[in-house]
């Protein structure tokens, strides 16, 4: 980091205008919604935000106010945020986080989503070779979030048995939205009727998602519709599925993700590590 950058950081820090990230001051009544990147939080976070603001419909700026990302806002922002706070993060285990809602998604769908984003961001618009991409996804640990396996394991191993940890599967949120959102409400200590829960998920769970999204966009600004679980079946070549399943079979099995490649099941990979 150059001297100019360091000086700029110093000024920002004094004014509390630096991004909170690892300098976030946490409180025992904070709740963190943690998930690996591309685990469906663009859709699930507004759902949860609806619980926090039942009196009126959600606008994009409300989302940033209700469930801000730890890497997206300044220290001053978080300092001024009313408590108890709900904050989003994607990092591996952090002992400072007392209350954690962890959202996990089938890694085969995570890689499809990550691949689509990566291809969309290339200048040429040309897609990466999918097998190379999956190989990197499985083996290359990203600096703060790790691999999918690192991220999930670090949280489940340390907090999986503790009362202030709620594990949600994206797939359950998709298919049983009201039920799963009820778990979130209970975890957050929000007393909410089943009618209100249904209201909170109404826009995403009824009718044609595209219509619902368009309707919502007109009324409340842009909204993301959820991707159906299992897209990987039509998008990933068998070799890519095998690589993912060989890497994380025991963890995937633990989380209830059915393994599809017989050689993974037959190899005993599921039993070897657990």
């Amino acid at each position: 980091m150059s001297l100019v950058h360091r000086l700029a950081f110093g000024v920002k820090h004094m004014l509390e205008l630096d991004i909170a990230a690892h300098n976030l001051v946490t409180y025992p009544d904070d709740t963190f919604i943690v998930s690996y990147p591309q685990s469906g939080t663009d859709w699930s976070t507004p759902l949860i935000a609806n619980l926090l603001q039942p009196e009126r419909s959600l606008k994009p700026r409300d989302l940033e106010r209700l469930i801000p990302a730890v890497n997206g806002h300044t220290r001053g922002f978080f300092k001024a945020m009313p408590r108890p706070r709900v904050i989003a993060d994607q990092g591996t285990f952090n002992p400072q986080y007392t209350n954690v809602i962890y959202i996990v998604r089938d890694p085969r769908d995570v890689v499809v989503s990550t691949y689509n984003v990566a291809c969309g961001s290339t200048r040429t618009g040309r897609p990466f070779p999918i097998l190379d991409f999956v190989n990197g996804f499985v083996r290359e640990s990203r600096s703060t979030v790790g691999t999918w396996g690192d991220n999930v394991t670090s949280w489940l191993a340390t907090r999986g048995n503790t009362p202030r940890f709620l594990l949600l599967r994206y797939e359950d949120l998709f298919f049983e939205t009201v039920r799963e959102l009820g778990k979130v409400a209970r975890f957050l200590g929000i007393h909410v009727s089943s009618h209100r829960l249904a209201d909170a998920v109404n826009w995403s769970s009824s009718g044609d998602p595209k219509t619902a999204q368009e309707k919502h966009k007109r009324k409340n600004g842009p909204r993301v519709s959820p991707a159906a679980p299992g897209l990987w079946r039509s998008k990933l070549p068998e070799a890519a599925v095998t690589e993912i399943e060989l890497a994380w079979a025991p963890l995937m099995a633990k989380l209830g993700y059915n393994l599809s490649i017989p050689q993974v099941v037959e190899s005993g990979a599921v039993d070897a590590a657990f």
Binding site: G10, P95, S154, A157, T158, N161
Partner: protein, 294 residues
């Protein structure tokens, strides 16, 4: 305000401590443990192994195996590669090659208690039982989580990796040559038995205690700290049996029994209630640790 200013000045001048935010390289090796688990002794052992021409002291240890939580980001950046770095951090996905030291938490808590008295984090008369409760809750002002969180975060994520070596402090005390040889193998060093023996002799607890007496005023970790409580501990295991109350032992074993058993630490309770299994099974470490030497 003063601490904020100091933080900014440290950032601007590059003197901020490494902690979790220094630049890690793919060829780094990390020596990781929860505090008070034998990390400093292991640093001396490894330092004396990788640098046989000059005995390791408290005056040169930071050049050979620098401490990421005591030295600046700028300093760490200029350490010649490949680096061996000391760390007390919980799981960090940037660490590729890791030597992890684990120690019986019933002994760790006692050493931790003395360490925090030395650093005046707690008063001398602070009662031990409530301290043990705080230690179990991970509430002892370190920022590194609880002992179990720390151990679980590393073991669960890295247990299948060929670049992860788990050392037990107790096994190192019993057979330091054999355990140091495991480290040499991980580092790709072909050490003779004479070289291993020399490293162990140079790193003896007696030797380290003597050095601490004359060098603690210059070592970054002990500089300016009280001298009546030594940094180098007793270098023994099992002290908890006479120093911890039955209640404290019970509390710790109730909280961490399954993990302790996985690591080969025998529980004292004869009729223990059913212990909750870890959410993620950590595999069978006993054959790998070969703890028959305890």
């Amino acid at each position: 305000m003063i601490s904020e200013l100091k933080y900014v000045l440290d950032q601007v001048t590059g003197r901020s401590l490494g902690e979790r935010y220094f630049t890690a390289f793919p060829d780094d090796t990390f020596l990781v443990s929860y505090p008070r688990s034998g990390n400093t002794w292991t640093r001396f052992l490894i330092g004396n192994l990788v640098q046989p021409n000059e005995s390791i002291t408290f005056l040169n240890i930071e050049k050979v195996i620098p401490d990421t939580s005591a030295l600046s980001m700028r300093y760490l950046e200029h350490v010649p590669r490949p680096r061996i770095l000391k760390s007390h951090e919980y799981f960090d996905p940037r660490y590729k090659k890791v030597i992890y030291i684990v120690r019986d938490p019933r002994d760790v808590v006692l050493s931790h208690y003395n360490w925090q008295r030395k650093y005046r984090v707690i008063e001398d008369q602070y009662p031990l039982e409530p301290y043990v409760s705080r230690f179990i809750a991970g509430n002892v002002d370190t920022g590194w989580g609880s002992w179990a969180e720390h151990v679980l975060s590393w073991l669960a994520t890295r247990h299948n990796s060929a670049d992860f070596l788990l050392l037990r402090y107790e096994a190192m005390l019993a057979e330091p040559l054999r355990e140091l040889e495991k480290v040499a193998n991980l580092l790709g060093i072909s050490a003779t038995s004479e070289a291993l023996a020399t490293a162990v002799a140079r790193s003896s607890a007696d030797n380290m205690r003597k050095m601490e007496k004359t060098q603690d005023g210059e070592w970054v970790t002990t500089k300016g700290r009280r001298k009546d409580i030594p940094f180098v501990g007793k270098a023994k295991h099992g002290g908890w049996q006479s120093l911890l109350s039955e209640r404290s032992v019970e509390e710790m074993e109730s909280a961490w029994g399954p993990l302790m058993k996985t690591l080969g630490y025998e529980l004292t309770r004869v009729s223990s209630p059913a212990l909750q299994a870890p959410f993620i099974d950590l595999g069978n470490w006993r054959p790998r640790l070969n703890h028959s030497n305890l």
